[in-house]
């Protein structure tokens, strides 16, 4: 047994929730090993190609559940590599949400105001940029003009994109070939490596157990680099502290599988999953009407015909992010792009008879694909997702060699969630169909259930042990030394893209993890600057009780 490798911290997953503590803890002096189940790719590996086996299927994961399918990252950098890089902060009212538990579901100590210094740290570290109208794609511009025509506002979203490098290729779901997207591969991870952190790709953590000295033994399988259905070996590593940041679709599964060895898990592990209230609508744009009504045209003479041009979302309507509205009636409507395949199968032909997701009528709208405008609705759901029995390994029974799997998540939308979706659908329709600009239909939920690109809350922070798996410090209840710092820790739907909030919470969790390491005799300090050396964010948080330790 003396051959077992030991380290101070094992971090499971390398997305926002893993990379951020990896950097800070390594910079502070801890020995950090990051285990990532997916491959390690760099800019030149990111293909513009839909071929099975290209980066698109290597780095991306689609897990079908019962009533909910989850899309996420599967590579070093995790979700930050495949996401669309919209980085708004969550509106104030979100932190006062009650959701399904009848009282505030966020910890009392967290509000938008108290989270601002942590948002600022992320803002400086990524860095996040505000966008101007000249950065906005045709699709975003069209959505803005349609909102304006309905007397509504529209905002270019803050993004983690270097727009000077961006080619508007709309391939960012397959990773960014031009390093324009500021994924974790461009900031926290290289900084963590520079401070000695080790990152091990194709290491899929399956379960944890306790060691006799109060630490944890982490069991992992080695994954074949081409066919993820094949496991090529296994191993163990021991650590004083384990940080689980495998994503809201995988973190609870690892903990559930560890229950036999670790003892009973808190009730909130694998419950209260939220799909961020997400839903999509596809509008088929009438170019003649857009020219006449909105006065839009491109320099090259076309009016729109630009579905394929851009960089994910660029413009959002935030009119319904109004704290005076009742819960479940607040949402944002954001222009978005999805590539063919995932972005076409669930789209429905507007009008006509069911089924509208396949057949001759669907083929007709595919011919108009370049005139599609996709609108992404982020509403308030009811945290109704529950994870069933874990699969033997990973978080899914893998079907395809990459990307597609069948997972244990069950999600039956409540009346609150369904009503929120209906309100947002109707609002979207009123805006985009006004004066004949387009015909719109929501994506069907009948084929793979609802779907989310922003899984949340399956192992959440909170004050109430009955409804939250984690203490407000992100430490797992009843299991000292295990922390969860990813999307699973976010208490509920945010009504906006969650990456900025996930990252801010991970930043906020780090000082507590440093203290936990110090308590276990590790010589580690908190106080690293931003990955590029900037110090404004550090200065601001250094006065907070959380950091000062008061």
């Amino acid at each position: 047994m003396s051959a077992i490798e030991k380290t101070d911290v094992v971090i499971v997953g390398s997305g926002f929730g893993g990379s951020i503590p990896a950097y800070h803890l390594a910079a502070g002096g801890a020995k950090v090993v990051v285990l990532e189940r997916g491959p390690w790719l760099a800019a030149e590996d990111f293909d513009h190609d839909y071929l099975l086996g290209s980066s698109y299927t290597r780095v991306f994961d689609f897990v079908a559940g019962e009533g909910m399918s989850v899309l996420g990252g599967n590579c070093v950098g995790g979700g930050s590599v495949v996401y669309f890089a919209a980085m708004p902060r969550a509106p104030k009212f979100v932190f006062d949400r009650h959701g399904s538990i009848g009282r505030r579901m966020w910890p009392a100590e967290i509000s938008r105001d108290s989270l601002e210094p942590w948002y600022d740290r992320v803002d400086e570290s990524i860095p996040v940029s505000k966008q101007d109208w000249t950065d906005v794609s045709y699709a975003g511009g069209l959505w803005a003009a349609a909102c304006n025509h309905s007397g509504r506002t529209a905002n270019p979203a803050p993004v983690a994109v270097d727009n000077d490098r961006c080619t508007n290729c709309n391939f960012q779901m397959a990773g960014c070939r031009f390093d324009a997207k500021r994924s974790m591969l461009t900031n926290y991870l290289p900084a963590a490596l520079a401070h000695g952190a080790q990152i091990r790709p194709l290491h899929e953590v399956e379960r944890l157990e306790r060691t006799e000295d109060g630490g944890y033994r982490v069991h992992f399988d080695l994954i074949d680099e081409e066919d993820y259905r094949i496991h090529t070996g296994s191993g163990v590593i021991e650590a004083k502290i384990v940080i689980i940041a495998a994503g809201a679709g995988a973190t609870p599964v690892i903990l559930q599988r560890s229950e036999a060895a670790l003892g009973t898990m808190p009730h909130g592990v694998g419950r209260y999953f939220s799909g961020n209230g997400e839903r999509l609508n596809t509008a088929i744009i009438d170019e003649d009407r857009v020219r006449e009504v909105l006065g839009l045209s491109r320099e090259d003479g076309a009016v729109y015909a630009a579905n394929h041009i851009g960089k994910g979302p660029t413009v959002a309507n935030w009119d319904k992010l109004d704290g005076s509205l009742p819960e479940y009636e607040r949402y944002s409507l954001e222009q978005l792009y999805f590539p063919p395949g995932l972005g076409t199968i669930l789209a429905q032909a507007p009008g006509g008879e069911e089924p509208r997701w396949f057949g001759a009528e669907k083929k007709e709208i595919l011919k108009q694909w370049s005139n599609w405008l996709t609108i992404f609705l982020m509403t308030e759901d009811d945290n109704e997702g529950v994870f069933g029995t874990p699969p033997p390994t990973g978080n899914a029974y893998r079907i395809s060699q990459q990307m597609l799997g069948r997972g244990p998540l069950r999600y039956e939308p409540t009346a609150n969630t369904l009503r929120g979706w209906a309100l947002a659908d109707a609002d979207c329709k009123a805006i985009i169909e006004k004066d004949g600009l387009a015909k719109v239909a929501p994506w069907t939920n009948d084929v793979v259930g609802a779907y989310t690109v922003h899984p949340l809350a399956s192992c959440r922070i909170g004050d109430d042990p009955a409804t939250s798996a984690l203490h407000p410090s992100h430490e797992l209840r009843d299991h000292e030394g295990i922390f969860v710092t990813d999307s699973a820790s976010v208490p509920g739907a945010l009504t906006v893209n969650p990456a900025m909030t996930i990252a801010a919470l991970a930043e906020r969790a780090v000082p507590g993890i440093v203290r936990a390491l110090q308590d276990r005799g590790v010589d580690v300090k908190y106080g690293a600057p931003a990955p590029d050396g900037s110090i404004t964010g550090r200065r601001a948080v250094s006065k907070l009780d959380l950091v000062a330790g008061n």
């Binding site: 513009h48 839909y50 071929l51 708004p88 509106p91 905002n155 199968i345 011919k367 694909w369 060699q401």
Partner: protein
């Protein structure tokens, strides 16, 4: 009746053609029903994709084919439709009936839904994504689905770049409560 292999090909082609219908390839084409103008999923390479074992669906195809034909036989009996026996039962169904049966098989609650949805997913992708081929090569070779979508060829190095991407002007007022960081308040 055709060989087992022919039954599989005809049946899967008919299923793919139900998801993305196309015009008949030749006058006596039975698998492709001719329910829509232009090439559909079959001509786009649905069978090439289904037979590519990276999908994870290939090994299950014989079972799906047998089950689909069993369902087609029961369905025809149920709606009192007389079907030819010289082709597999699903192939013998006219397009509208194939469509009705696939609708039933992919509805929430159907015990075999998952298999039929997976099959539909890959048939659809063969047409609009062509994941069995390099995208740039498929486009250059005139892949019917990618062309129908209006997909443009990439630059000479195989990468897509769109130097013109924006209307370049203000098109709406910002939300009045936008914070200095560009976020909602």
């Amino acid at each position: 009746m055709a060989s087992e292999e022919e039954v599989q090909v005809l049946t899967l082609e008919a299923y793919a053609d139900t998801i993305v219908p196309g015009e008949k390839r030749f006058p006596e084409d039975r698998a492709v029903a001719g329910a829509a103008p232009g090439p559909g999923a079959v001509e786009a390479g649905a069978l090439d994709l289904l037979n590519y074992d990276a999908t994870g669906i290939t090994a299950g195809l014989p079972y799906l084919v047998q089950s689909l034909n069993d369902h087609a036989k029961s369905y025809a009996g149920e709606v009192e439709l007389e079907i030819d026996t010289d082709v597999p039962p699903f192939v013998a169904l006219p397009y509208e009936h194939r469509r009705a049966l696939v609708t039933r098989l992919t509805k929430p609650g159907h015990p075999e839904k998952e298999g039929w949805v997976s099959l539909a997913l890959f048939c659809n992708m063969a047409y609009d994504t062509a994941p069995h081929r390099h995208t740039a090569e498929a486009l250059a070779a005139g892949h019917p689905g990618l062309l129908a979508l209006g997909y443009r060829p990439p630059d000479a190095d195989g990468l897509w770049r769109f130097p013109k991407f924006s209307y370049g002007r203000k098109l709406a007022d910002l939300h009045p409560d936008t914070t200095p960081s560009g976020s909602p308040a």
